[in-house]
């Protein structure tokens, strides 16, 4: 199949043979060259320069908005009583959700031996890290006195006070910080062989020193590969439960409360499905332009995109099911206050946001039933963008409409965002994209070593039980030992 000419279509299903995941006349050298060239070329592509200009500008806007917030107070936002959380926590949950796709691709697909993950995992992991940075920002800045936000951490202090362990917000602190730590380690550890490649190819002193330090003295010896693979798998095993736990804990912020519309047991699985859904949409949103601009179609193939589109379709339907079930339970549960909350969500003053959410998250992905849509990058991009919008509005709907009308009609209110709210949201995208673009330019955005393992030259096609990412396959005597330990 490696001789299939351009356009590179590897989406045909032929049960007799595996579809190739690297297309074109590729060997190890060309893969290395392709990936490293992005980092090593003297001038970045014009599109990159323009993009980072915009995103860095937005990042500055974010910092300006945060500066205004810190000096003036939460009142610069539209939050009020009863809607004490609005854009702040909406953005937090949105960004945490985005992060999930990365870990899912890296860890769960790794454990499930999904070979196609190799081309996109590094990219998605990077996205995870940056999304979690954006996410982590909001709980810290949304507090009324951000200079005391460290009180949320169990730091020994002169007051001899621990945080209050019954609060889901505290669980958030642990969940998100653990998630960030593990994701960062996972990302970094996986990158070491590729950083070593960059180091070895580097011509300038600065690059040599920086990549040299980052590569931690990697020499590619058998022992190194052995330790590396062990560590990588352990981290994958550690990260896997986090995919489920983090967003479950985030959903506890709502599920544990008394507020109708929040107080519901469906939230943990619903949030996790939504997070994966939103995360994959974000991966697609970023990947499709990057793939086109950096000409990576032979590494990030249509098949990759199609697979992700399928996941978007599947998780989108899960989310749709959750939406339906919320309504069903609100009716079936017989709690009139909860019943009203959902009626109000769909037909109240914020009904438009509810229907926007349903359209984007449930209706739009349905086009992926058609193969043509799944294999047309621009169509995927459009749906992915819609899903991003829809997932942001999902959190907005949950948070704002539930808060706006709770138990006492006298206290019903509404939320109108201020320009600061909107600019902060835009600024968080700026921060995310800036970090992401910097990574594209200065890091190995595709896991070269792993991609090579799924190439025919990698020889992994030969063995009966070898999956991608099983690095021990390259060291026969170790491979046998490892293989026996496999359950």
């Amino acid at each position: 199949m490696s001789s299939v000419p351009f356009p590179l279509d590897n989406t045909a299903e032929d049960p007799r043979r595996r579809a190739p995941l690297v297309l074109g006349e590729q060997d190890f050298t060309t893969v290395t060259d392709t990936v490293c060239e992005i980092v090593e070329r003297r001038t970045p592509p014009r599109a990159w320069t323009v993009a980072i200009g915009v995103s860095a500008g937005l990042t500055l806007v974010l910092f300006a908005m945060l500066g205004y917030l810190f000096t003036t107070g939460i009142g610069v936002w539209g939050n009020n009583i009863p809607v004490a959380w609005a854009f702040d926590i909406t953005n937090f949950v949105f960004w945490v959700g985005i992060g999930h796709a990365g870990t899912l691709i890296s860890a769960i697909l790794f454990l499930f031996r999904q070979k196609w993950r190799t081309a996109i995992n590094r990219f998605a992991e990077g996205m995870t890290i940056f999304a979690v940075i954006c996410a982590g920002l909001f709980p810290l800045v949304h507090v009324g006195r951000p200079w005391l936000a460290y009180w949320l951490f169990p730091v020994p202090n002169q007051m001899q006070m621990w945080p209050q362990f019954r609060s889901p917000l505290l669980w958030d602190v642990f969940a998100v910080s653990t998630y960030f730590t593990v994701s960062l380690l996972f990302w970094y550890v996986g990158m070491i062989p590729d950083l070593a490649t960059l180091r070895d190819r580097a011509t300038g002193t600065v690059r040599q020193v920086v990549y040299g330090i980052l590569a931690l003295g990697w020499r590619g010896s058998g022992r190194h590969w052995h330790r590396f693979e062990k560590a990588y798998m352990l981290l994958a095993a550690l990260a896997t439960p986090l995919v489920l736990s983090v967003h479950s804990v985030v959903s506890f912020d709502f599920a544990v409360s008394k507020l109708p519309g929040w107080h519901t047991t469906i939230f943990p699985p619903y949030f996790v499905a939504g997070a994966i859904f939103g995360g994959f949409a974000m991966v697609l949103t970023l990947l499709i332009p990057v793939r086109a601009i950096l000409h990576l179609e032979h590494l990030i193939t249509l098949r990759h995109l199609e697979n992700m589109a399928k996941i978007v379709l599947a998780t989108g339907m899960m989310v749709g099911y959750a939406y339906a079930m919320e309504f069903f339970i609100a009716w079936y549960g017989g709690n009139p206050v909860e019943g009203f909350t959902f009626l109000n969500r769909a037909f109240g003053p914020y009904g438009w946001s509810y229907w926007l959410m349903v359209t984007c998250n449930v209706v739009a992905p349905q086009v992926f039933w058609f193969k043509r849509a799944r294999t047309t990058p621009w169509a995927i991009l459009v749906v992915a963008l819609l899903v991003n919008v829809g997932m942001w509005f999902e959190r907005f709907v949950i948070i704002v409409t539930s808060l706006a009308r709770d138990f006492l009609p006298s206290s019903w209110g509404s939320f109108v965002p201020t320009p600061v709210d909107l600019l902060t949201l835009a600024g968080s995208f700026g921060l995310f994209l800036t970090l992401f673009l910097l990574f594209l330019r200065f890091g190995p955005m595709i896991a070269m070593a792993e991609v090579k393992s799924v190439m025919p030259q990698g020889g992994l096609e030969l063995g009966p039980h070898r999956g991608h990412g099983q690095y021990w396959g390259e060291i026969p005597h170790q491979h046998e030992g490892q293989h026996e330990e496999e359950p």
Binding site: G144, S167, K258, L408, V416
Partner: protein, 1029 residues
């Protein structure tokens, strides 16, 4: 009766009066009149230049130049002097600042620094006095409460009285006399004024006061009356006019018509089984409203298994209307003649009326039904019912009302009469006469003692322009306001809390007004100014004592004086009751006049007193601006109030700006659709749209006085409405936006659960009717063993919805007690008001004839508090005594607690609201309560500082706490005593009894919150067959 005791304790020291309080105040007000001016403080450059100290200083600093610098003024030396002054100002700043606050070398007797003192005093509003007790900490008055011993207060205080503290420390109050020549205001001082006034008034005295006019506010002060007499002796030809925009002249005229003599009616609500009010807002806007509310509510609790019945007919929707068992909203034209319909129906029921009964007046079907019901109720309760008429209705209506009460045998039982002590009229006629004199140039000197006629005079008088024609105009007022701007002299008036004075309550009881602090801004009282103009001088203190001494019956008047100061009133000064005889002939004339009065069609305007700013005088008071109107829940604005049906017919909705025209006068005003307004009626609250109120009140709302004319003074007919395309944002604390259909339906569905209501009949049939709902509803069982609270006391509150009239005094009390910030209109519109206690107002039933219910909501101090478990830093925790506590220091401001609070009583500091306060404004703070910074959550504490103060006092006296000893600010000021606080562990406490009461229920009990505040279901007492309204 801790408060009563507190008042008496001060007897000794309060009598010392100015000496002691002045002594304290010197420390606080650097430029107070009683301050000994320290050397080196100069008033003008000349004065400065002449002092020997200055000469020495110049000699030292500029050797050899002292001659040049201190010589008399020419242009060069003036400039040189200026330069030297500036240079020295810089040098002066290098030195240690002069310390004016001195520590006590010897502690004054009875004063413990940091411990609050309470002083009895009184305030005058629209000429009527209310006794107050003011709490003062280290010389700063910080809290105004009612005087429990005073007949017009009974311990309660209105919002207006409580907001006096904020007015006292208002930085916008005028600080110095101003002289305006050709529109240019020049700061002057009292010496300048006295230097002008002495020869001017001497000259006037020589001409016996020809060309001199005085325009005063209504006042019942015996001292002012006495000084006025002496003033009149010096200026016999001077004219004196009294003007109040909210005049009660019609009542006085009506009584004179009915009885041929000036008498004042006092409804005795405690004795009335049936109260029929024709536009009389006896609970909200009446000189005796507080006493009325107490008496009314005492008959609403059904503890003796009976209740009074209140029937109200009105055009607007007043507090009294909201409390009514039957209410009808009638446009003014029907309302005016409704009394005739009542008379007709009474006659039909065989009541002998002492006047010829006219034919059926046209009052509409609803009016007729109401009249029939009212007549039936009154006829069935002869001697136990009372018919009342409001001050907007014509004198003839009042005369008829008196005649009907007389016919029903109500006089002497449910309505008593005293002599009218101040029969002087204060309506627009007097002002019109003065205005025409001004126009004729007959007035050469006009002294305006308080009031703001340029702003609030009827628009067709063009008072401001006519005022400008008077060569010498002197205006004494708290603020440099609209009238001051048109006067030659503006003089700062001493605030009630800084002046000596006296006043009569509605029943005639005299109170002494004693100062809590030396005047902050050099103000003088009206009596002081008047005395000076009368050529006699003397401080306000001397004047009041002189009046007191002259009126004293005892020889030992000094003792009586001290007792009056300590008690807050002079015992035995109430007016004697009289039994006036009806003048049937004049009543018959009144009936004929009323029946013959023309019927005006079309849209009518009704001018209403405002619950916040009254007539505009409190416009610059931020507490009052921010406290929501009890009925509309609007803050920081008034609006044209329309019945929803009328608004629909006119095609306008809330916030639309319309142009109202009455008799050629236009006003653009925002519309607010208010259920319960009469059809074809525009309710126009007065007192907004001030042009020179101060930083707070200028430009707030719409100046409805612009539509008020002599002919259309209380109500105006022939109003036309034109739509404009503009919209105006109105900030309300409830229903922030027009509600959608599903929200409307859901609110109506939930209302019955949240605010439980029944009639007296339901209650007598099933005392536990309010709880039976819970037994059939969802039950939640605890999932785990519940925490047992082990404190010695278990604090709790009970609020009787049957007693609550929704006045909102509790909100201002809480604001004052707990240092609650004011956030302004924009923030209120965003939903960020900070009141710890709010009064939820709901409408039920059809919008044209709604039932109004009020429900005060504070923190419910849930035993299973949802806010506590979600706080990540443990900033809100439960005390062993059942208080849900907020630890400001620990709060980081996640706001999660508010999200999880089902009652939404938590308030967040979105900004640093205390930051913008000027130093003088910070004097109002209660030192017992933390001033919260930005980013922290706050909420009702059950006034924990008062709990602790009482606990410490009890511990020091080695005795247990007594029930009723701890009174939160809201409960203390509640006119109807609807709020009760106490200890549940004491089975004999009032609150424990109320928690056991069959009417009690907890809000949202199905959430298993176990709130410590329980409500007592509201009872109504509609007429059995519901005949009529």
């Amino acid at each position: 009766m801790r408060r009563g005791r507190g008042v008496r304790e001060e007897r000794g020291s309060a009598g010392e009066g100015p000496a002691r309080q002045g002594g304290e105040a010197v420390a606080l007000s650097a430029h107070g009149p009683h301050t000994t001016e320290p050397a080196g403080y100069w008033r003008s450059l000349n004065e400065l230049a002449d002092t020997p100290a200055f000469r020495e200083f110049v000699a030292a600093e500029f050797p050899g130049l002292e001659e040049e610098l201190t010589r008399g003024a020419n242009r060069r030396s003036f400039l040189g002097l200026m330069a030297a002054s500036l240079a020295m100002a810089g040098l002066a700043s290098c030195r240690w600042p002069r310390e004016l606050i001195l520590p006590y070398a010897n502690r004054p007797e009875g004063t413990i620094p940091g411990v609050a003192d309470r002083f009895a005093t009184a305030m005058e509003l629209l000429g009527e006095g209310v006794g107050l007790v003011v709490t003062s900490v280290d010389g700063r008055p910080i809290k105004v409460d009612g005087n429990p011993l005073h007949v017009a207060s009974l311990g309660a205080a209105t919002s207006w009285a409580q907001a006096l503290v904020l007015e006292l420390y208002d930085p916008d109050r005028s600080t110095t006399p101003l002289r305006r020549d050709g529109g240019q205001a020049v700061a002057a001082n009292w010496d300048d004024f006295d230097a002008f006034a002495a020869p001017h008034f001497k000259r006037l005295a020589e001409s016996q006061g020809a060309g001199l006019a005085v325009l005063g506010e209504r006042t019942s002060s015996p001292t002012v009356a006495a000084v006025r007499q002496r003033f009149a002796q010096r200026f016999p030809r001077a004219s004196w006019t009294v003007w109040e925009p909210l005049s009660r002249d019609n009542e006085r005229l009506g009584a004179r018509v009915a009885f041929g003599q000036p008498v004042r009616a006092h409804p005795q609500l405690a004795r009335a089984d049936v109260i029929v009010s024709l536009d009389a807002d006896i609970l909200g806007f009446h000189p005796a409203a507080l006493a009325h509310a107490r008496a009314f509510a005492a008959r609403r609790r059904a503890e003796d298994r009976t209740m009074n019945r209140l029937l109200v007919a009105e055009s607007g929707l007043s507090l009294t209307g909201a409390a009514a068992d039957h209410r009808v909203a009638l446009p003014p034209r029907d309302l005016e003649r409704l009394v005739l319909a009542v008379a007709v129906e009474l006659a039909r029921r065989g009541v002998f009326l002492p006047f010829p009964v006219p034919g059926d007046p046209a009052v509409g079907e609803r009016g007729r039904r109401f009249a029939a019901l009212a007549a039936r109720e009154l006829a069935m309760a002869r001697g136990r019912g009372v018919l009342l008429a409001g001050p907007r209705l014509a004198p003839e209506v009042h005369a008829l009302v008196h005649a009907i009460n007389s016919a029903l045998g109500n006089i002497g039982t449910t309505v008593t009469f005293t002599a009218e002590p101040e029969e002087e009229r204060d309506g627009p006629e007097g002002l019109a006469r003065l205005a025409s004199e001004l126009a004729d140039g007959a007035v050469e000197t006009l002294v305006i003692l308080g009031g703001n006629p340029v702003y609030d005079a009827p628009a067709d008088l063009a008072f401001g322009e006519r005022l400008a024609r008077c060569p010498t105009t002197i205006h004494l007022s708290l603020y440099d306001d609209e009238t001051s701007a048109r006067c030659r002299w503006h003089l700062p008036r001493a605030h009630t809390l800084e002046s000596w004075g006296d006043v009569r309550a509605w029943d005639g009881t005299v109170s002494i007004v004693q100062p809590l602090i030396a005047p902050l801004y050099n103000g003088r009282t009206a009596a002081e100014l008047l005395a000076r103009l009368a050529g006699e001088g003397g401080s306000a203190h001397d004047l009041v004592r002189r009046t007191f001494q002259e009126g004293a019956t005892e020889r030992e008047w000094e003792g009586a004086w001290r007792r009056a100061l300590a008690d807050g009133f002079v015992a035995g000064t109430a007016l004697p009751t009289v039994r006036p005889a009806l003048d049937a002939g004049r009543v018959a004339d009144a009936v004929a006049a009323l029946a013959a009065s023309p019927v005006a069609g079309g849209l009518a305007a009704v001018f209403l007193p405002d619950a916040s700013v009254l007539d505009g005088r409190f416009a610059n008071n931020a507490w009052l601006q921010e406290v929501p109107d009890p009925i509309t829940k609007l803050t920081w604005d008034n609006a044209a109030l329309l019945a929803p049906a009328t608004a629909t017919r006119l095609g306008v909705r809330d916030g639309d700006v319309v142009r109202l025209s009455v008799a050629g006068r236009d006003l653009e005003v925002a519309v607010f659709a208010l259920p319960g307004m009469a059809e074809d009626t525009v309710g126009l609250p007065l007192g907004y749209g001030r042009r020179r109120a101060g930083k707070v009140g200028t430009g707030v709302g719409f100046d409805t006085y612009q539509l008020r004319t002599l002919a259309g003074f209380h109500t105006a007919s022939g109003v036309s409405v034109a739509k404009t395309r503009r919209r105006y944002p109105l900030a309300s604390t409830q229903d922030h936006h027009a509600i959608d259909t599903i929200g409307f339906a859901e609110r109506a569905r939930r209302l019955g659960e949240l605010v439980r209501e029944g009639t007296l009949a339901t209650y007598l049939a099933d005392e536990e009717f309010a709880r039976s709902r819970d037994e059939h509803g969802t039950k939640m069982l605890p999932l785990w063993q519940e925490v047992r609270l082990t404190g010695e006391h278990q604090w709790a509150m009970a609020i009787d919805l049957s007693a609550c009239i929704g006045c909102g005094a509790c909100q201002v009390a809480c604001q004052a007690e707990n240092n609650i910030p004011v956030v302004g209109k924009k923030q209120v519109a965003r939903g960020r008001e900070m009141h710890w206690i709010r009064v939820d107002r709901y409408f039920a039933g059809p919008p044209e004839d709604p039932r109004v219910v009020f429900q005060p909501v504070t923190c419910q101090h849930c035993e299973n508090a949802p806010c506590e478990s979600v706080c990540p830093v443990a900033a809100t925790v439960h005390s062993e005594e059942g208080l849900n506590q907020m630890v400001y220091n620990r709060c980081v401001g996640t706001r999660y607690c508010s999200n999880n609070c089902p009652f939404k009583v938590r308030r967040f500091n979105f900004f640093n609201y205390a930051k913008q306060l000027k130093p003088v404004e910070k004097m109002k703070f209660n030192p017992e309560v933390t001033v919260r910074g930005r980013g922290v959550m706050e909420k009702c504490t059950f006034c924990v500082q008062r709990i602790e103060a009482a606990r410490i006092a009890a511990r020091n006296e080695r005795r247990p706490l007594r029930d009723g000893e701890i009174v939160p600010a809201c409960a203390q000021t509640c006119p109807t005593q609807a709020i009760v606080f106490g200890d549940l562990n004491d089975p004999g406490s009032r609150v424990a009894a109320l928690h056991r009461h069959p009417r009690s229920y907890g809000m949202l009990e199905e959430l298993l919150l176990k709130p410590r505040n329980r409500y007592l279901a509201r009872l109504r007492n509609p007429a059995p067959e519901g005949e009529g309204a």
